[in-house]
């Protein structure tokens, strides 16, 4: 669709812009004094109204000869031909109009007196049409850049969506393989515990499976996921893991992105507890403060532990997810002290509307 014809507001603005052009044309026509000012105005205004629409046709010729992909000769020929055709059409219309006006008593002999004005009309016609071509090329360029921008934005959104989905569906393969190895070890010595661990692992996996599609879950649900995760890890690490929790009652039904905290607790186990011979403790704190949910995950760690591969990826993901979802309404901070590693998060309190 034509970018101006298709929008009433734009069309009105466009026609308004032609009023000074019509005045200018009237001035040019009246300058020679062969016709009167009133006659010049009476001719110029209807002519410009018609020509305003004729000039819109430049859009089609501009579209088929894009500036950057057409040869100079092609551009020159196309636009010169269309400009001449449009001008010829305009002159014919002018003639008809003048003949019609001559018939009236107000403009006697206008047809004769108008003859010397024809070259002016031809010159203006060509010039105006060329201007319209330039104007349409600008319009096309604007449209193209807007489209490109929209495409880039859409691609960005799609990429982020995909990343989040992948992130949410992810279960750390290390965790899975190590757990399976523990179960395998237990089968011959303690079949009941092996079975218990199978059930705990199954419970954890089932909980993570459904979460991929959900945008948010109550904090309480995330906590039961963390409990399922820790139950498995406690069989692996035994007394090396100590967990302390203090979650305010009013925080339990705050909506949080799923699998936001579990990776933090997993980090605390993998990068903290697993590197301590005697084990250590994880502290998880969640409170509502001034409309924000403040969460802290803190664990003991060995600052001199061997560097684990890929460390820090989990933290970066949590930071990105918070930023993508809440922008500057959420905060994320990491602090590594002598023996303590702490991640602090705040995010706006959102609750699901409960049916009264």
């Amino acid at each position: 669709m034509h970018p101006i014809l298709a929008h009433l507001r734009r069309l009105a603005l466009y026609l308004l812009a032609w009023i000074p052009i019509a005045l200018l044309l009237a001035y040019l026509l009246g300058m020679a004094h062969t016709i009167r000012w009133q006659e010049a105005v009476a001719v110029a205004f209807p002519l410009c109204l018609v020509y305003a629409f004729v000039c819109l046709s430049a859009w089609y010729s501009c579209r088929v000869t894009p500036l950057e992909r057409s040869s100079f000769s092609r551009l020159f020929l196309t636009h010169l031909t269309t400009a001449l055709l449009a001008t010829a059409l305009w002159v014919i219309i002018a003639k008809v109009l003048v003949i019609e006006l001559s018939q009236t008593s107000r403009a006697p002999d206008l047809e004769l007196r108008f003859a010397p004005e024809i070259p002016i009309l031809v010159g203006t016609g060509i010039l105006l049409y060329l201007l319209s071509i330039a104007f349409h090329y600008v319009l096309l360029a604007l449209e193209a850049s807007k489209e490109a921008e929209a495409r880039v934005m859409k691609a960005g959104i799609l990429a982020r969506d995909a990343e989040l989905k992948a992130l949410k569906a992810q279960v750390n393969p290390h965790f899975l393989f190590n757990s399976l190895n523990s179960i395998s070890a237990l089968t011959s010595t303690d079949a009941a515990r092996a079975r218990e661990m199978c059930i705990l692992l199954g419970d954890f996996l089932r909980r993570t499976l459904g979460l991929g599609e959900k945008a948010s879950i109550p904090l309480g649900e995330e906590m039961s996921l963390i409990h399922a995760f820790l139950a498995v890890e406690k069989i692996r690490f035994g007394s090396r893991i100590q967990m302390q929790e203090s979650i305010a009652a009013e925080a339990m039904d705050v909506q949080v992105p799923p699998l936001l905290l579990q990776p933090l607790v997993e980090n605390a186990v993998v990068h903290g507890i697993a590197n301590l011979v005697e084990g250590g403790s994880i502290r998880l704190d969640a409170q509502c403060k001034n409309g924000d949910l403040a969460i802290e995950v803190e664990n003991t760690y060995d600052p001199e532990a061997p560097a684990r591969r890929k460390s820090g990826v989990g933290l970066a993901n949590v930071r990105q997810r918070l930023a993508a979802r809440y922008g500057n309404r959420a905060s994320f901070a990491v602090k590594a002290e002598a023996q303590q590693f702490r991640v602090s998060i705040t995010l706006p309190v959102e609750r699901e509307a409960t049916p009264a």
Partner: protein
């Protein structure tokens, strides 16, 4: 078992998880010729135990407290055949395929375990593998690309020292060893200076001589020495020889 049944094979199991050690113990218990000499739950303990007990074979976990499996291997050298045991590590797998006796992935199957044990027995009974590389080369291969060492483990008898890279002043080649100077002490490590150079971040360490690598932060000034050679003066006053190629490299760095 067969005729080697006479020869007892002494094994050390290293893993920080009790259940992971338990399954190896169980698989090993089916072999009368195997004696589990010790079990360790961390890297320091592993190095100490291997030095004391001199086992033939070590089952070594990768992710452990204190020292990881690669660092342990770097320190115990060729003293024992090593089978790595890990859950999942693509870099490690690449390195084992080239260098180690074998590697086992958790969960470990009995069949796969037996195959690895058979290979290890061949190694223990015979000579070192024909393509055996110096251990330091092995650990370099296991390091992820574009990641430089942030610490260097060294061993003195049964004791292990960790030298953080920032505390390494310079390294000097001494035959098959490098002497690592840190905090006024020198630690000897069996490693070529070339492989040490490859492990160090080139923006922080520079090879200034055939036998010397220096920590650039420690260089106070460069002085001419004799007719056309130079010495690098460290901030603690020590002087290290600088070769002509080393001088050019050093100048290129300082002119930046």
């Amino acid at each position: 078992m067969t005729s080697d049944a006479q020869k007892r094979i002494r094994v050390v199991i290293v893993d920080d998880e009790e259940l992971a050690r338990q399954i190896l113990r169980e698989y090993l218990s089916k072999h009368a010729e195997i004696e589990v000499a010790a079990e360790c739950a961390n890297g320091f303990e592993a190095v100490k135990t291997v030095a004391e007990k001199k086992p033939d074979l070590v089952f070594l976990d990768i992710q452990m407290p204190k020292l990881d499996g690669f660092e342990v291997l770097e320190l115990i050298g060729n003293e024992a055949a090593v089978i790595f045991v890990t859950a999942y590590d693509s870099y490690a797998i690449r390195a084992f395929e080239v260098h180690a006796v074998d590697y086992l992935l958790k969960p470990i199957s009995q069949e796969r375990f037996e195959a690895a044990l058979t290979r290890a027995k061949e190694r223990v009974g015979g000579k070192p593998a024909p393509h055996a590389l110096p251990v330091s080369e092995l650990s370099a291969a296991a390091r992820p690309p574009a990641q430089y060492a942030d610490r260097i483990p060294v061993r003195d008898g049964t004791r292990v020292f960790i030298i953080p890279i920032a505390k390494l002043d310079y390294a000097e080649a001494q035959d098959d060893y490098v002497a690592l100077a840190s905090e006024g002490k020198k630690h000897l490590k069996q490693q070529t200076i070339a492989s040490l150079e490859a492990a160090l971040d080139p923006s922080r360490f520079l090879r200034i001589h055939r036998s010397y690598i220096v920590n650039l932060e420690r260089v106070a000034k460069i002085e001419p020495y004799g007719k056309d050679s130079h010495v690098a003066v460290l901030s603690n006053g020590l002087q290290l020889p600088v070769s002509r190629a080393g001088y050019n490299r050093l100048k290129a760095y300082l002119d930046r």
